[in-house]
């Protein structure tokens, strides 16, 4: 049995299969684009890396079928991202980074206000869509998100192992 968590074994196996098929298809699509150049420059590698990561996230979110808030948020994020080209997405990342530093300062200021809350906020940042959830739901989403991340990591690792003897 796949080493999924104990929460829902049946759904995890199908989640894994769904993710696997989707992800492999996306991978093949990405690799199909690449085949013209024999060796890849770091830039291309980086681009592929980005695409593959996006594909992985997308496949995972699609496999969850928007049953969960984090998957819905992730899908919307990805869609809005893909609609804009990579240039603006890079810029978005930059903007996000600057805002992140600001919130970092804010977070330091908040440290006095109860240690639990800031960790919850940190978790909220990690889990997509977690900003608007109370702790109870946040923990739910986190559990499911962890499960899906595990699946993702396992499948991708197996693919990598497959290709690198």
């Amino acid at each position: 049995m796949k080493p999924q968590n104990l929460m829902n074994p049946t759904s995890s196996s199908s989640l894994k299969s769904r993710f696997t098929t989707r992800f492999l298809r996306a991978l093949s699509r990405i690799n199909a684009r690449k085949q013209f150049t024999s060796t890849s420059s770091p830039r291309e590698i980086f681009q592929r890396y980005r695409r593959i990561k996006v594909a992985a996230d997308k496949s995972m979110a699609y496999s969850v079928r928007s049953k969960r808030r984090w998957s819905r948020v992730m899908l919307s994020k990805l869609r809005s991202r893909s609609s804009s080209n990579s240039f603006s997405s890079v810029r978005l990342r930059r903007v996000k980074k600057s805002s992140a530093t600001k919130t970092g300062h804010e977070k330091e200021a908040k440290i006095k206000s109860g240690g639990d809350q800031e960790e919850a906020d940190e978790l909220r940042e990690l889990v997509p869509g977690g900003e608007a959830m109370d702790l109870c739901n946040l923990l739910d989403e986190t559990a499911h998100y962890i499960k899906c991340l595990n699946t993702q990591v396992q499948v991708m690792r197996k693919i990598v192992d497959f290709y690198s003897p």
């Binding site: 559990a143 497959f162 690198s164």
Partner: protein, 427 residues
């Protein structure tokens, strides 16, 4: 007191119905009759109200039952009611074929029992059922007065304890307890519990009939009394996790003639805890959160010994971060090592991933020579990953096993290239 009279009448009627029907089915289960009908709850009250500990009940029942079964049932006229104070009393009841009356047997060792005897003698010898009825009322009230302990527990714990005492009674006990659970939630409402040690006694005393001198006449009918009982029992029981379950059980079992149940989440206040509605809601919320934290503890490896929300949250955060990083690592690696992926390979690969645990070796025969585009040769870079922000020392073992030197180098390159890409991006 008028209310007391009303109680008397009300109870009498119910008790009548109970007592009269069992004549058709006499058995050694004294409580089985009482289980019928809505007066069951009141009966349960009476059957249960032994001492605070159940030994009385056990002791009360066992000798009685054996007694009734063992001894010959002679002399069963009403005259023998003079012997009610002794062990013949249950015999009398059984002889008369009124098993319902055998519940009196439990009161045998009741010192107040003797009081009731003269009352009994007042009735004619002809109609035992009548006698039983009228006897039952004072009997029960007497019992209620004398034996109701502050720690009365109607819910399942009491029932279970009783059930263990005697196999013959176990069925009834369970029934009783179940019905007692019914009693405890005629309404599914959340109740504010005001701890009153005196009121428990009072709540049972409202069923007292004439002979009783008990002061409180809280509710005038059995359902209301049951509500009170429920309140008091809720106050008095120490273990309350069961309370929720009992309430749920009670909801499942059908009640006859009880107040309409509402779909509230039934919450019990624990003993000694604040019963403010706010704090109750808080407690429910906290319990939910702790339950979810426990689930998360199972998910996150190595968190079994961790107690405390803050540390646990830290661990969870670290774990999620490390998982996300792993996904990035692996996608980076895939970007370099995986230029070709045919349909066949895809199919094989998916099968391999889904169905086998470790062995991709079987399919490696199909996938050789694909690593041609690997830009980094092993051994060029030392196997260090200085640029990689590993937030948690526990988790690197996982990626470490998957990542060989190549990958580390790869990531390093990728990391540098990513930063390079950032600068290159806009241009």
């Amino acid at each position: 007191m008028a209310s007391g009279d009303n109680d008397d009448v009300g109870f009498k009627h119910r008790h009548e119905s109970l007592i009269n029907c069992p004549s058709s089915r006499m058995n050694t289960n004294p409580l089985s009759d009482k289980v019928d009908g809505m007066a069951m709850s009141s009966i349960s009250m009476y059957t249960k109200p032994s001492n605070a500990s159940d030994p009385f009940f056990a002791s009360g029942w066992d000798p009685i039952i054996s007694l009734s079964q063992g001894e010959s049932l002679g002399g069963s006229s009403m005259v023998s009611h003079g012997e009610f104070a002794n062990s013949h009393y249950p015999l009398l009841m059984e002889n008369q074929g009124i098993s319902g009356a055998s519940h009196f047997s439990q009161y045998q060792s009741d010192p107040s029992f003797v009081e009731l005897v003269p009352k009994l003698q007042g009735f004619g010898s002809g109609n035992l059922s009548e006698m039983v009825n009228s006897f039952g009322l004072p009997q029960c009230s007497q019992i209620a007065n004398s034996r109701f302990p502050p720690n009365y527990a109607l819910n399942a714990e009491g029932g279970n304890e009783r059930g263990s005492t005697n196999s013959t009674q176990s069925r009834d006990d369970n029934q009783i307890s179940e019905e007692g659970g019914l009693v405890t939630s005629p309404n599914g409402k959340r109740r504010k519990r005001v701890p009153e040690s005196s009121s428990p006694l009072g709540s049972y005393q409202n069923v007292d009939e004439e002979p009783q001198k008990d002061p409180s006449g809280e509710s005038s009918d059995v359902p209301k009394e049951q509500d009170e009982k429920k309140q008091k029992t809720e106050q008095n029981t120490g273990a309350n996790s069961r309370g929720k379950q009992v309430a749920k059980q009670a909801k499942d079992t059908p009640q006859t003639g009880e107040a309409a149940k509402e779909n509230y989440i039934h919450v019990r206040a624990r003993r000694g805890q604040a019963t403010n509605s706010h704090s109750l809601a808080e407690r429910v919320r906290r319990e939910k959160i702790s339950e979810r934290m426990r689930l998360l503890q199972e998910l996150v490896p190595g968190c079994n010994k961790i107690t405390g929300k803050a540390v646990m949250l830290d661990e969870i955060i670290n774990y999620v971060q490390s998982l996300q990083q792993q996904v990035e690592f692996l996608s980076m690696k895939l970007a370099t090592v995986n230029p070709e992926l045919n349909i066949d390979l895809e199919r094989l690969l998916s099968k391999d991933i889904l169905h086998s645990r470790g062995g991709s070796a079987a399919i490696l025969g199909f996938g050789p020579g694909i690593n041609t585009s690997h830009p980094f040769s092993p051994g060029i870079f030392p196997g260090t990953m200085p640029g990689i922000p590993s937030t948690n020392p526990q988790f690197p073992p996982m990626p470490q096993t998957a990542l060989d030197n190549e990958f580390q180098n790869l990531f390093q390159m990728g990391f540098d290239s990513s930063s390079a890409m950032d600068s290159l991006g806009p241009s």
